[in-house]
Amino acid sequence: MEKDNVMSSLTATILTEMHTENSASLKDQLRRAERMKKLRYGALILPLALFLLLTFVWPIAALLKRSVDNPEIVGAFPVTSSLLHNWNGKALPDEATFVAFADELGKTKGTPPLAAAAKRLNMEQPGFRSVMMHSARAMPPETGTSPKDALIAADSRWGEIATWQFLARNASPYTARYLLASVDRKYDEQGNIVAADEDEAIYVDVLVRTFEMSFVVTVCCLLLGFPLAYMMASQPPKIANVIMIFVLLPFWTSILVRVAAWIVLLQSQGLVNQALMAMGIIHEPLQLVFNRVGVYIAMVHILLPFMILPLYSVMKGISPTYVRAAQSLGCPPLRSFWKVYFPQALPGVGAGGLLVFILCMGYYITPALLGSPKEQMASYFVAFYTNQTINWGMAAALSAILFVATLVLYMVYSKLVGSPDVASKAR
């Protein structure tokens, strides 16, 4: 008996020791095995990661950077810029600044950097291009004249503090000008942020319109898509699959073709108007295209599947017994639907709504072809600035605002739906 006890305690000690030794090496082994696995998975997705980096992440980052980029002045007048950076702005800059500016103005005379800088300054103060150009022509100053006098002689504005403040403001490599402009704000002469002039203040309206149209389209999609998704979810799979084909049918044609088809259908002599008139519902053609109505019709049509699919996938997972249970507990059918079914379908409503809303915010071709100028959304102006005026700063700034709005929306959504508590509720 005694011997047995000793033996067993011995075995126990040995076992514990072996156990601790083993567990350390086990952890190492596990880590090694896991590392290999991670590397292998990493290698598998490497091509995709590179592709996305080159075609997606980098271009977006580069474009977003352009919304705050301000390279022209710093590029043309690097020394002046750094001197102006330390200037207090109370009195005219010191002699050294004038010397450096005159020198750099002379050096860049007739070269593209000067043209770019002049154009950039002209954007903010119309007429400033000629100031720059004829000042540059007067450089370098004749011997015996100080650069300061020569500059002021070339244009009296170089003797005003405001001109130098204006130059100093633009002599930094980054500017919030474009971002401010895309929310109808600008710097005034003193460098304060003020509302933009009325004839330039269009972007807030455009952004509001973008949100408003996206919202209307999303609500229409939800109202039209929810009953269909509900019907599909409650049908046997055979019928649901047939309906699904019809839902996906629009995806089989190009968006451009569909927009063209809508123009044909909705124009004043189009099929829809003719049919309505033949039925005697209307007496003269309705204006259905090249206005808000046409854009809404086409966009809802195009985006409806994006609403129906997430709704359907969520609704398919909701057992009909829940509504039955609610009824057996005394809840009338409609209220049962609202109290028990709808809350469980909410993740689908959220996902579909978010998807449609975000897609809407970036819509360009449909409003461009089916709408009047009053229907153009933010993307139209991005395209306008990139294709027609080559103003990358404004294009990038408008894109950035859209991008941030989308991100905020997404974050709000994931805060509402993505939190573990709600996600578990949805299950």
């Binding site: 017994t321 009824q327 057996s328 809840c331 049962s336 949805a426």
Partner: protein, 383 residues
């Protein structure tokens, strides 16, 4: 006993106009078809007594769940009428029937906490907040889950969800509770525990319970009465004891419990006892459960534990010879498969202690069956 059985049998085929005085629910000539050609429920007449625990038992597709759904109001009878408390409820929508229901997968609302789930039926009935809280806590205590009120259903185990579903069906004090295979998703041990718990709650509250299951041991454990369904017809409605010991037809005999079936031809009829000649030529006496006539076919039914072996079979009226085909030792009892003459096999369940002197596979053996345990049934009934 005999008289009571007769009464109950009469209740099944009762005159449609008369109603049992303490009937809670009555089905009269109820039929249900989904496709217009096959009847899922054929001419159902059923009286459910106030306060009883009635189980609808049957194989899948026998119409028992349809019957329950018609009572709950989710299906409407194609013809016939259903009365609850003597009121015809055929066209009353489910939410106005005030019937508690426990569903197969519990159907607890996943977006509500346990407490909100229980509050749901009370809030609809516009009870005062204080009353709601009181009833909810009482119901939670009844199922011993008072501490789980603020959890979500999916944070509970299957058995706990089951209990909450039960509490939710009871919290608004319905007089009638329907349960649609509520224990199907639980493992065996938990199921047996829940069977007793449901039975206890039934006894405490005195509500009428209609319970649907295809598990016969569950039905035997819990029920006051069991209605055995097959092909849309109630085969027999009786207490568990009566169903097991006195099955009314071949289907009930083979569906409930283990059963040995032997075919034969009726040779003589004397009162309740008839003489039957088996296919292998042996003559036996059997208790007649269905009216049989001389020369007609009979299906003999005997439970494995009512067959005696060797020494124990000496006093039995019917003695048959055979060979031991197989012996399975199960500790407390042994199961012996005996091949009778004519290649007919019967299974015998005997206490292991009685058979110390073992017999081996291939040994000749005598089996004895007393006539009261050998039931002669009409093979054409209940098929």
């Amino acid at each position: 006993m005999q008289v009571r059985n007769l009464m109950e049998r009469m209740a099944v085929t009762i005159n449609p106009d008369t109603q049992h005085p303490d009937s809670h629910v009555t089905f009269r000539s109820v039929q249900k078809t989904y496709d217009g050609s096959t009847l899922i429920v054929k001419d159902l007449n059923l009286d459910i007594r106030r306060g009883e625990f009635l189980t609808l038992l049957g194989p899948s597709g026998s119409g028992k769940t349809t019957c329950l759904m018609m009572l709950a109001g989710f299906e409407t009878p194609t013809s016939g009428e259903i009365r609850v408390n003597a009121q015809v409820v055929n066209s009353v929508p489910p939410h106005k029937r005030n019937i508690g229901m426990v569903f197969q997968n519990y159907a607890l609302f996943p977006h509500m906490t346990v407490r909100e789930n229980l509050r749901f039926p009370l809030a609809i009935r516009k009870l005062s907040a204080a009353e709601i809280d009181k009833k909810v806590e009482k119901a939670l205590d009844m199922v011993q889950l008072g501490a789980f009120g603020s959890r979500y259903p999916q944070q509970l185990s299957g058995g706990q969800q089951q209990r909450i579903a039960l509490a939710r069906a009871l919290v608004f004090d319905p007089e009638l509770i329907l349960m649609d295979e509520p224990l199907g998703a639980l493992d065996k041990q938990l199921r047996e525990h829940m069977q007793l718990e449901i039975k206890n709650i039934h006894q405490q509250l005195g509500v009428t319970v209609v319970f649907v299951t295809h598990d016969q041991s569950e039905a035997l454990t819990m029920s006051d009465r069991i209605a055995v369904f097959n092909r849309g017809v109630i085969q027999q409605i009786d207490s568990p004891t009566a169903l097991y010991e006195k099955p009314e037809n071949n289907f009930v005999a083979s569906f409930i419990g283990e059963n040995n079936a032997l075919e034969g031809v009726v040779e003589s009829v004397e009162g309740d006892v008839c003489g039957v000649k088996l296919a292998n030529g042996t003559r036996v006496k059997a208790a007649m459960r269905n009216p049989l006539s001389e020369g007609g076919k009979a299906m003999l039914s005997v439970r494995p534990e009512c067959v005696q072996l060797n020494a124990q079979s000496l006093g039995c009226t019917n003695r048959l010879g055979g060979y031991v085909k197989d012996i399975i030792y199960l500790g407390d009892h042994i199961r012996v498969r005996v091949e009778l003459a004519g290649r007919k096999e019967i299974t015998v369940k005997a206490p292991a202690a009685q058979h110390k002197t073992r017999f081996d596979k291939g040994d000749a053996i005598h089996v004895g069956i007393n006539p009261e345990h050998l039931l002669a049934l009409d093979p054409s009934l209940g098929a």
